[in-house]
Amino acid sequence: MNSIDLLQMAVKNLMRRKMRTFLTILGVIIGTGAIILMLSLGIGMTAAMKQSIMEMGSINIITVYSSGGYGGYYSEDMSTSTTSDMQLDDMAVQSFASLPGVEAVTPYLSRYWKIYTKKYAVDAEIVGIDPTAMQKMNFELSDGRLLEATDKLDLVIGSEVKNMFYDIRSNNMHSHDENGVDIDLLQEKLKLTYDMSYGQRNSNSADSDQKPAEPYKVNAVGILQEGNWEQAYSVYIPLEQMQEIIEAEQRWQKQGNDYGSRNNGNNTNEYEQVKVKVADINDVEQVQQSINDMGYQTQSLNDILESSKKSMAVTQAILGGIGAVSLLIAAIGITNTMVMSIYERTREIGIMKVIGASLRDIRRLFLLEAALIGLGGGAIGLGVSYLGSWLINYIFVQQASHMGTEGFSQISLIPWWLALMAVAFTSLIGLIAGYLPAVRATKLSALEALRTV
């Protein structure tokens, strides 16, 4: 029996009892809809969570701290706990770079310094970074370009830095204009200084023996895009320049007996932080572990992601379970329908057997009918799910905008693999549900069946 005849016969048989077929399919539609929508909520919530974690920084970048100080940029421990700690020096950077899976490594050497124009100034974290590695560190530009190997006193500026500028004359660094000051940082002539008293000189005449520090003329070459809070408040400069300026600062500080001997890291080859970029997100955990094993402290957003993934998996399993129950009931409905159908068609099965239908033909016919119910219900159920998902998102977005928590555009997400799997799965359920009735049909004695009225 060829497949087209088989399909035609199966469809014809299903159409004979339209009401019953429809009700059985309806069961599958509800089951499919329930399971897809439940899973889509789980997936949507996971995606929203992942997105919000991504906004905190890059997931595939590991931050390494020397074992002494954990996370503190200006930790006093940095200089004091120099016992047997692993130093974050160029050697360490080299060893990180040689780990498998690592794409780029750069030290972060940072100071809290001042950048100013004629009218405005900002106190910001200046970060020395390896310009060749910067390209690979997930920096996204809104304007200009990233640092390049030939750059000297060039800056790439975080997206929020512009809003932190204040009027020098107002002398109040906390009175920022909401919209930032009206300057184009890429065009403006900028100066950088480690002399934090710049602009306050008049009121600060007590430091008479301190010569004013010579500012550096710097040049902004790029502005970062919003959306990554880890990078938004920093200004990036090539590492070598950073080291030179720090050395100059140290000389300047020795000269004048500066009150704040902010000697974090006497050696400019010792870094507070090293960033390690891992090529594949799946390798992050392993690379992080190897760095930990070397005796360093590490941190990555992957830690947070992994732990929240685990808790989301539980939520998803519960949601999926609820959907699975309704699909199970639908499967029982299919079996019921097929058993009924076989009772009704006992005589026909007998006729088919007598005139030459093989057991295989009969089994295939009933399996196909059951699978068609599953497939039809699954396909329509998928359509219904897309509608339901759209509705949930629509309501959710409205609610969210009322509550002022914008940002997540959808809470229910149906990825293509879920759609595909759902339809394949319901067809399979149909096959399984139809198996018992189909075997039963093949076992009918042709003669007995013929005698049935």
Binding site: M1, I355, L359, L447, L450
Partner: protein, 233 residues
Amino acid sequence: MDHFIELNDVKKIYRMGREKIIALNNINLHVDRGQFLCLLGTSGSGKSTLLNVMAGLEKPTRGTIKVRQFHIESMSEDQLARFRKKNIGFVFQSYNLMPTLNALENVSLPLIFSGMPVKKREKLAAKLLKAVGLGDRLRHKPQEMSGGQQQRVSIARAFINDPRIIFADEPTGNLDSRTTSEVMDLITGMARSRGQTLILVSHDPEVAAYANTVIHLKDGNVENTIINGEENQ
């Protein structure tokens, strides 16, 4: 000499609770190619059981049934299905047509199971339906036809795969006498013109008169065999 169909010591015993009913008691018979055999007997004589056993629809309790070189009694259900598809056509008392299919589809149904493409099989079916005088009823469903017409459809179906043997179980049992003779003329004429072996079960001596061999059954035993009107001991 090997006969076309050979039955040796065929016994069929039904168990009804504690009681044993001997439906066939050591039947020995043979049928030759092209023969028209009628199994005649009253209800309960075992004539239908004998036909079913010969057609492989029922297994004998004991004994062997050989059709050509095949041993029917030891075939599996799938082998039997294939064997029936190729070698056997059936005509039943109650027609046994598929109620949802029209005449054309009913007649071509055996060919569907052999995997013949739709155009070819419907052409063959239409030709046969014309041969049984239903050329104008191709698209009619069984319930739209009279008993005689339905039986003609079932005859056309029995002949569609050009079988070697036609089994007919009381083919005229539900028909009036005029239609009976029409159907009998049709079925014997078609079988004879194609050189097919026809084995027919009936309780009606008038029907038996068409056959060239009549086996009279009583209580599961062959009472007598009449070949061309002469009793054969």
